[in-house]
């Protein structure tokens, strides 16, 4: 039995973070090129989630008969284990990428702790970090998709402010109820990033979800026209210049925006900060074997 299977099981059941040592041990098992990764920082701690499923509201804007609809709730199945960073990428982690020439400096001038999540980063920055980190560690790291984020966030996932009143004769009802729903949450701005762990751990062992740092996902903004059954998609247009951002609520940001406060629209609560965490792609069996044999 391959080593990684019991690890997934124990991590998920115990709902705790995988310790650094175990994570590195597993990486060693898979092989890879880590020579360029700074020795000063241990590899990111990760949590491995067992396969499972969630029912969740899809991101994007949905129309039916030309009218906005509630986001369809779909069951999303995860057939493979999902390995995701326990913490958001920290300011110190990101600084390594900047020092190595792999990333642009973050748009962050405030004095924040080194172990606080990196903030002031755009989708483009997050993507560049994932590419550099993959190169530096020899593993394939990437941003989570929106459904992966929701799956990992579990009870910390909230989705977006959907207008609940559907009145064909009065589109304003939807706008007003959505605005009021956001107001009712009574969330005050909380601008300054804090040390990792400040927002606690969720039931799956991930830290700092839905605190004051929103996270980039790899999912593009989509506008879809639903089929007659209200679930299937009749047609859709992706806009990959805008990506889904998850956190205290779901929102959508242009790829180049690094300050959530200025990236929003005329009405609505903007994210306090923009950051990210990464998912490690599980190498396939062929790569694992080749890795063990020292071929790759």
């Amino acid at each position: 039995m391959p080593l990684h299977i019991p690890r997934f099981a124990s991590a998920a059941v115990a709902a705790v973070a995988v310790p650094v040592g175990l994570s590195i041990q597993a990486v060693g098992d898979w092989g890879g090129h880590r020579q360029s990764y700074p020795a000063a920082h241990p590899l990111a701690m990760t949590v491995s989630l067992l396969p499972g499923s969630i029912v969740y509201p899809m991101p994007g804007e949905f129309l039916k008969d030309g009218r906005p609809q509630r986001n369809p709730r779909l069951r999303q199945q995860f057939d493979k284990p999902l390995e995701i960073m326990t913490y958001q990428v920290s300011a110190a982690d990101y600084a390594d990428c900047v020092a190595a020439g792999g990333c642009q400096p973050p748009q962050e001038a405030r004095a924040i702790p080194d172990d606080a999540p990196v903030t002031g980063v755009s989708y483009l920055d997050a993507d560049a970090y994932a590419r550099w980190y993959s190169e530096a560690t020899g593993d394939h790291w990437r941003l989570p998709s929106d459904e992966e984020w929701a799956f990992a966030a579990a009870e910390r996932f909230t989705g977006e402010f959907e207008g609940v009143e559907d009145d064909a004769d009065n589109p304003a009802r939807r706008w007003l109820t959505s605005y009021k729903a956001e107001v009712a949450l009574n969330r005050r701005p909380d601008p300054l990033p804090r040390s990792r762990g400040s927002f606690g751990v969720n039931s799956r062992g991930l830290a700092d979800l839905s605190g004051n740092v929103w996270e980039w996902t790899s999912t593009c903004y989509v506008r879809a026209t639903l089929a007659a059954d209200g679930v299937g998609v009749a047609s859709s247009i992706d806009n990959c210049g805008v990506h889904v951002v998850e956190g205290f609520h779901r929102t959508y940001m242009s790829n180049f925006v690094s300050d959530g406060k200025s990236g929003g629209c005329a009405v609505g609560t903007p994210p306090d900060n923009l950051g990210f965490r990464l998912v490690r792609n599980q190498p396939g069996w062929a790569k694992r074997i080749l890795g063990r044999l020292g071929i790759i």
């Binding site: 589109p171 605005y179 300054l192 306090d272």
Partner: protein, 368 residues
Amino acid sequence: MLTRREALFGAAIGAAAVAAMPAFSATAAQAEIGKLARERIKLVAPPFVHQHDQVAKGGPKIVEFTMTIEEKPVVIDADGTTLNAMTYNGSVPGPLMVVHQDDYVELTLVNPDTNTLAHNIDFHAATGALGGGELTLVNPGEQVTLRFKATRTGTFVYHCAPGGSMIPWHVVSGMSGAIMVLPRDGLKDDEGKPVKYDSIFYIGENDFYIPRDEKGNFKSYETAGDGYDDVMKVMRGLIPTHVVFNGKAGSLTGDNAMKAKVGETVLIVHSQANRDTRPHLIGGHGDYVWEQGKFANAPAKDLETWFIRGGSAGAALYTFLQPGVYAYVNHNLIEAVELGATAHFMVEGEWNDDLMTQVEAPKPIVTN
């Protein structure tokens, strides 16, 4: 660092002016004024306005107000940036005062000894003595009472003007507000027909100049005086760091969004004591707009955006025709979105398809 002595420098001049006018309180006119009815008004914090009649009942009267000056730190944006504010009655802007033409405004201005600076008030609605500024300079621990006749109708700015560089500094620290002098028979449209409002909101716009540290973060100071030198440097650059309504970015949104209903007529009084601005109601209009704020001039009709000159207050009357969330902005959109000058109206009511409808929802471009 500002010393107490510098701050109080203007006091001697003010006192001299008062002393030079002994006859002022002993004329026949004084006796006549003494016979007038008095009304005492309790001011309320913006964007709300104290209860008032739109059409005056009875003859001119003496309308008594009291404003207490309060120096205090206030947070002006979501990042927690702090302004060492100077306030009339504790709010930025100061409250809107409403009287009718030929009423006498009698203001008692209190400067408690918990404050550190000398203050006064210059009413653009008043005649003489630098708008009353010369007669109202009070040191911490003093109070003064000024009376002026509201001879001209309109919306007018009032602000602190304690002399020299103190004038712009006090104003951009929050010390301004507005007074509305209504015609005795109320507002009229361009044809002289009476118009009324169901509700009134007062939006005072402020430009703030907060110094930054070497990293670009906003600095804070223990007292207003501690920040004086740094603030003056930013002020002289003429580029504000914040342009906000009601003293703080986002202070008229969310929970504090202004509320109205379809069919209701709203009067929006907008003042800016220091700098030009251009209000615009996104998705709405100004049905009748007194751009310069003076009701003796016929209102302009159907405006998209109106211009409020720095140092003036204007008024716009609008009847909401569609429900929804409206943004009311300074239509320099950089100032609206990046610097803070955005407010919201939540308007309930029935949608009018005739005015607007989405004929076809967004869909992929049709190719033949």
